[in-house]
């Protein structure tokens, strides 16, 4: 009887811990190779030929088509520069410079990576159309309400993510990421 109990316990431990940790790892994935600059995170290796098994599992479940090293690099932000989660009920200013790239786009998605419906029919900005300050830096208002200047409209959702894609950028290896400038994301107000 003791033996049966022990075997049952071992199987219970194995299945619950095994499946739950695997689910957590695959669902929240991207465990390895993250590069953090301020609030922005990129995974230069994750979608490439040397992807780790967790990244491959994540790709298989999401159906995403990641940018390759020859195309560019995507940086994702899910929090503002103070570490608070990005919310569709708040107004943010994305302010600063981007690293060297021939072209970049900034796009707002919901928590699942889908574009958001908005009356302005705009879901992002690209580097050539943006209004800049005299020193070359830029400010983009990420807001559910109409704003002046570069306005990136959002929907009033709980969670947002911003993706900054640098196309044709020299950033590839880890050493390239030292001392690069990424824009700040500052919260202005919420309601």
């Amino acid at each position: 009887m003791r033996l049966l109990f022990d075997i049952a316990l071992a199987i219970l431990v194995a299945t619950t811990i095994g499946f739950s940790t695997a689910w957590l790892a695959v669902e929240h994935g991207r465990l390895f190779g993250a590069v953090n600059i301020g609030t922005w995170t990129a995974w230069p290796e994750a979608g490439g030929p040397n992807s780790d098994p967790y990244s491959v599992a994540l790709l298989a479940r999401s159906g995403e088509v990641p940018l390759g090293a020859g195309e560019g690099l995507a940086f994702i932000a899910v929090t503002d520069s103070d570490g608070e989660p990005l919310s569709g009920n708040c107004v943010y200013i994305v302010n600063g410079q981007t690293p060297a790239a021939r072209l970049w786009t900034l796009t707002a998605y919901d928590a699942e990576g889908r574009l958001m419906v908005n009356p302005a029919h705009r879901s992002g900005f690209q580097s050539r159309e943006i209004l800049r300050h005299p020193d070359g830096s830029f400010s983009i208002s990420v807001s559910p309400d109409v704003a002046t200047g570069n306005w990136l409209p959002t929907a009033r959702l709980e969670n947002l993510q911003l993706v900054l894609r640098l196309y044709d950028t020299p950033l590839t290896t880890a050493t390239d990421f030292v001392n690069i400038d990424m824009p700040r994301i500052d919260k202005v107000q919420c309601r």
């Binding site: 431990v13 030929p49 491959v56 298989a60 479940r61 088509v65 390759g68 195309e71 796009t107």
Partner: protein, 181 residues
């Protein structure tokens, strides 16, 4: 008590094995991966233009709305695949993905140094056979050796504004992936 602890340790070891097995098996049971989703766009061995990503109707997840995308699923089982296209004089890129959605090779307009894309995807074995009797097209094409059986090519063409849209469509319509070397 001691025996229970031993069984617990055994359970934890087994948990590790289950964890690894599940993570490795996920891609084989995923029916919504990029490869599977691309079937909805049309038959293999030709490029299909994806509708521009818009809120509520996105062909694939996390696409850049500033890019016009075209995809082609191909197989290398019957020989090399040649990808050609006449592309605009602005940013574009092409990437070759394997069956699991890993981006195996990519290049952009600058690194290609041309607007006429001519690319051949070939396995190392096929390449070794081809070297014995190289066809003339081997000279002009960018040859990419990849150890894959099947995969897909994804073309991204930057659309700066609406006036560039027609040119981008024409460029993507010129793309072909049904040829061989």
């Amino acid at each position: 008590m001691k025996r229970t602890i031993l069984f617990l340790i055994g359970g934890l070891l087994l948990a590790g094995i289950i964890h690894i097995a599940v993570v490795f098996m996920v891609p084989y049971y995923a029916d919504r991966d990029a490869w599977a989703q691309m079937r909805q766009f049309g038959p293999d061995d030709q490029f299909h233009i994806l509708p521009l990503p818009q809120a509520g109707s996105e062909p694939l997840r996390s696409l850049d709305p500033w890019m016009l995308h075209a995809v082609c699923r191909f197989s290398l089982q019957d020989g090399a695949v040649r990808i050609t296209a006449a592309l605009p004089d602005d940013f574009w890129s092409i990437a070759i993905f394997d069956r699991r959605g890993r981006n195996m090779y990519s290049l952009n307009d600058r690194s290609a140094e041309r607007t006429r894309l001519d690319l051949a995807v070939i396995t190392p074995v096929q390449m070794a056979q081809l070297r014995q009797d190289p066809p003339p097209s081997l000279e002009t094409a960018i040859v990419i050796e990849l150890p894959i059986d099947e995969g897909f090519a994804l073309l991204r063409v930057f659309v700066a504004d609406e006036t560039k849209f027609q040119a981008a469509i024409r460029a993507v319509e010129s793309a072909d992936c049904g040829g061989t070397l």
